[in-house]
Symmetry: C2
């Protein structure tokens, strides 16, 4: 299943390397580790699904990295197991292919990486608001309450923006 048709499988050619590095930069912007970009990038320009060992060989990363990277990509919904319509053989290796619907990618990222932070932020602000009750100076208290209200506002705006994002990016 692994790309025997297209030249030396150990060689990641120039174009492939550049695509991989494109994705490495891309995921870095999103705060994800380089290996995530490498794996997704290689899957993205591969015509056939790849196994964990393929990734290890062609990207020259460790099995551990590949395994963890795939785990995260799966949890983000960015990678799926290929429906192994293999020849008759007893194939127990699993092969992976990239999810490519932008909507899905964005949805996964928002759901796993963004929303949790927004939510924990909201509860932190709630906790902080409780603390201002003990502030003696009334002027200081008013100031703090005003600022915390603003923070709350910001998080609300953030919450409102996510669905719009998903909508627009779903084409």
């Amino acid at each position: 299943m692994a790309d025997q048709l297209h030249g030396d499988p150990d060689k990641v050619d120039t174009l492939e390397k550049q695509v991989v590095s494109f994705f490495v930069d891309g995921v870095k912007v999103l705060g994800l580790p380089r290996s995530i970009g490498e794996i997704y990038g290689l899957l993205f320009i591969s015509q056939s699904a790849l196994s964990l060992d393929d990734l290890v060989e062609r990207l020259k990363i460790s099995k551990g990295s590949a395994s963890q990277g795939l785990k995260m990509l799966k949890s983000l919904g960015a990678v799926r197991e290929a429906s192994s319509s293999t020849d008759g053989g007893a194939e127990r290796r699993t092969y992976y292919e990239p999810a490519m619907e932008l909507k899905r990618l964005v949805g996964g990222f928002i759901g796993k990486q963004v929303r949790p932070h927004l939510d924990s932020g909201k509860s932190k602000i709630k906790a902080l608001s409780a603390l201002t009750l003990e502030v003696e100076d009334p002027e200081r208290k008013a100031f703090l309450d005003e600022r915390l209200a603003r923070l709350d506002q910001w998080l609300r705006s953030g919450g409102r923006v996510l669905p719009v994002l998903q909508k627009i990016l779903g084409q």
Copy 2:
């Protein structure tokens, strides 16, 4: 100018600490260094503008960190110099206060941290598209062109989403 009215200026009290840590987490999500969050956070809950030395004292960070952090925050438009309406004295220290219009903050972040990456991404894709001209196997070439077209699509979507973001977050 620095907060003499509100208790021991060296002591960052519990509430202040929590707000600072709130912002530290916040900027980490955006991929910015902790000191940025500390500085902005302290300015955010301070009733009066603060000088570089105030930040050094109260956050217990180095002068270098404070200077670099302020530099970045200024470049993002997240911090501005306070209009020093000081008493008569010869005051040559500059004081800083946080910019708090969400629109401005988001605009700065997008302009300095997001847009440049989108733009460099676009030119990288253009470069890659040139490379596929040399791919011999026509099936492979078609495949690559299709994928690159999709990447281009993604970046376009990204570009389209930014103005909408700014609009929504501008209240």
